[in-house]
Symmetry: C2
Subunit: 292 residues, 2 copies
């Protein structure tokens, strides 16, 4: 946390990203033709860290079997890409840039962008139903739907929009980001564990790790909005000026400290796994140390 430069990606990260990228392209090749598919691919396949998918794969590793985790990891990224397209819309954050390129609606128009987001959510559920044996598919579907639904992404996004230009308390801010980011992080880790047949204790520990990691990740995003450039972050910066963020609440140093504490809390949940969880610890170290 003291280095001014962003740390290098952990070595295993690159390999996992390659696997996830190949799976995402495979899913999109199945998704039929036309302008909606092009818009779906545009955001989904643009360069990104794929932290959530890597988290799914690492959780499956920890639970002892990564062999079935790839489609679940990809489905989580598909849902995440859908949420990015929605967040950027003119009626929401009206963001011009995402993942180093014009945002989806700037490139394809608003209607196609909305349909692309809808199509991505649909494809996430389709991929799960196609890939997994039915009992596992049902659990993954419920898990993902809960992360999207009324205590997840959608609830967080609407509360975020309602909070713009308003004073909100720390509890509200925390709840927004627990829903907007923490819920899908938690589902990502749980999904990986489920595909590996993990028991409830392992799942609970991984979900606790991921929830705190997600919140730390969001705080670092808020920091990058203040301290970064579009070239470094791939999106417009100083975009949160009208919003209460962890930085506007606690200042740059306070937010950085909070992110560090959340990563420690995350890592504490990994204690029962000893050295087997080292890669997850590398992931949290990377997440909290990202800097612009």
């Amino acid at each position: 946390m003291t280095s001014p430069a962003s740390p290098a990606l952990p070595a295993f990260f690159t390999q996992y990203q390659t696997e996830v990228g190949a799976e995402l392209r495979r899913l999109m090749d199945r998704a039929g033709g036309g302008p909606v598919r092009e818009a779906m691919r545009y955001t989904l396949l643009a360069p990104s860290k794929q932290v959530r998918a890597v988290l799914t794969l690492l959780a499956a590793d920890l639970a002892g079997n990564r062999g079935r985790a790839l489609t679940a990891a990809a489905a989580v990224e598909v849902v995440h890409a859908a949420s990015l397209i929605l967040d950027d819309l003119p009626s929401m954050d009206d963001a011009p840039l995402r993942r180093g390129q014009p945002s989806n609606h700037r490139r394809f128009g608003e209607a196609t962008a909305i349909l692309a987001a809808f199509g991505l959510l649909n494809e996430a559920f389709a991929a799960i139903a196609r890939t997994y044996d039915p009992p596992l598919a049902s659990r993954l579907t419920t898990l993902l739907a809960d992360a999207v639904g009324s205590d997840g992404l959608i609830a967080g996004q609407v509360e975020d929009l309602l909070s713009t230009d308003r004073d909100i308390g720390f509890e509200t801010l925390e709840r927004i980001h627990r829903r907007k980011t923490g819920a899908l992080f938690s589902a990502a880790a749980t999904a990986g564990a489920l595909t590996a047949g993990a028991g409830p204790d392992t799942i609970a520990a991984l979900a606790a790790y991921a929830k705190n990691l997600g919140l730390a990740f969001q705080i670092v995003d808020d920091l990058l909005d203040v301290t970064g450039s579009p070239e470094e972050t791939g999106k417009a910066v100083r975009a949160d000026a009208k919003k209460t963020t962890f930085v506007s609440f606690s200042g740059v140093d306070g937010a950085r400290e909070l992110a560090g504490e959340l990563c420690q809390t995350a890592d504490a949940a990994l204690a029962p796994f000893g050295r087997h969880a080292d890669r997850l610890r590398e992931l949290s170290a990377f997440v909290v140390a990202r800097r612009a």
Copy 2:
């Protein structure tokens, strides 16, 4: 087809609508709180004919067991409501009225409307995963995702938008509406048959019936846009002036004739079932005879 007034609903219709309405309210009661849920309920629970859900229940009846069809019927209506919210958005048809009330975005704002549509699609998949045994849930998920995806609602909607203010051929028009309406009608019937454990021949016959019924339904909608009033249709009329419709293509009389022919084709698929399919025949007679 010669009566100038809309025919009465078939008697069984009212009972089925009541059952579907109760199931939809039950699903929404589970969907959590806040402004998104209110927006979801607003369009989903507004008075409507629920033709698609009734079709699901009738298909299950025909296949011999309606006992498990209700959630599938509701899920189809949930997906349909999501698609209506999207179709009405300013970036799409910019429709002021739907189901006899201001359209979702006019009532709740665009951002909440988009999130409500997203939440409804999510809830449809969640309800299926929660309700059905996993093998059936997986089949229903795939069925519904195919009806939404790149050869269904989304593909039809984007092609519809691209066709506005353009000359399109009859084949294109037919393909748009096969995707926008036919695909979900076909999935509705198939879903009902699947919940009843129907075999492939029954499923194929019901899907063929429903596909043609859906197209006939759309043509009658086009007719009502020309001949009806907002009070009668619950939405703005003469809204399709910039679009090629079945009426602009074939004239009022030609479109009415085409709808009649499609219903005959639909009914022909029911021949193997004899009198057991009488209620489905009542449904198609009702669909084609709707008038403003």
